[in-house]
Symmetry: none
Subunit: 183 residues, 2 copies
């Protein structure tokens, strides 16, 4: 999108890379903002700071957060149930998880955790001064990929459960509900 076509490959030139980073980051931020307004949806992006980049691959922080969410909408099923065997154990575990995430959800609402978390820093060394360098790009891709994986995982779990004669019918878990970014 400029004077000439640019190959999508790591930009080795330092200053050039930084410039591109800043420009595109801003562009993505804008696009996300517009999308949320246009379609009335919630969206966010997390773009790590270039300076923090090493040869590291992906977003550990995100993953961590993700792990948690995994249990979010899970259950709220029937509480206080006692399990006698592994089968019921599994069921209970799922229910508990669900409840846990439900609570979290409520908590979040109350706090109105809401809005933006404009600048979140979690650098081990708290380099708060570098806030401007961050970008919001690959979050979307990451999310979709992960959602897919979750679905697959859940599907396989269900499959496995059936193989093991576990009845998950009373657990109305719909893997599709995880596909947020795909209307």
């Amino acid at each position: 999108m400029g004077r000439r076509k640019v190959e999508i490959a790591y930009i080795t030139n330092n200053s050039n890379r930084r410039l591109t980073f800043r420009r595109r980051k801003n562009g993505i931020m804008k696009m996300i903002k517009e999308l949320s307004i246009l379609c009335g949806i919630e969206a966010c992006a997390i773009i790590s700071d270039e300076n923090h980049h090493e040869a590291e691959v992906w977003p550990s922080p995100t993953e961590v957060v993700n792990v948690l969410s995994r249990f979010k909408n899970l259950s709220e099923h029937e509480q206080g149930k006692r399990m006698l065997d592994l089968e019921s154990y599994l069921k209970q575990r799922i229910e508990k998880t669900q409840d846990q995430y439900h609570k979290l959800k409520m908590e979040n609402k109350k706090k109105e955790m809401a809005g933006y978390i404009e600048k979140y820093m979690c650098t081990k060394e708290f380099n708060f001064g570098d806030a401007h360098l961050t970008n919001p790009n690959d979050f979307t891709d990451f999310i979709n990929e992960q959602l897919k994986e979750v679905k697959q995982k859940l599907d396989s779990m269900d499959f496995q459960a059936q193989e093991d004669s576990i009845d998950f019918d009373d657990i109305d878990f719909d893997p599709n509900e995880f596909y947020l970014a795909t209307p």
Copy 2:
């Protein structure tokens, strides 16, 4: 970016809004992907599905992401493994989780917990203009709370497992490793 200029305002027309949503979502995904490649950084985006939007406040996008990540690095453990019974199934699942978290921990250290999450938006009412009002600390608290809950969950899992005569001893799981945001 099309045949005519579009006002950045909620699109009331249903089909039109959905179409725009899909298009722009894909566009953002691509841009994020490109940015991460071009600049060698990590980035991700969470875009909630239009259909899922209700009074949902914050966590929905995040939670979704989380759900996904939960499994991200999960397997790849030993693929094609077959499980013979529920017990081994559970164990395997826990082991995988453990491995995942270990990897995450390492990753986090290397990346130094990744950099910043510069702007995170997901106001229930899309008050993007209020970005300045948010408190960065809320995010940290949120993460920590979730991590605590995960810990509890895992602990209860362990406990339950023991009750059911499942031996988890060979799984050295340290809940503290979940406290990412707390140096």
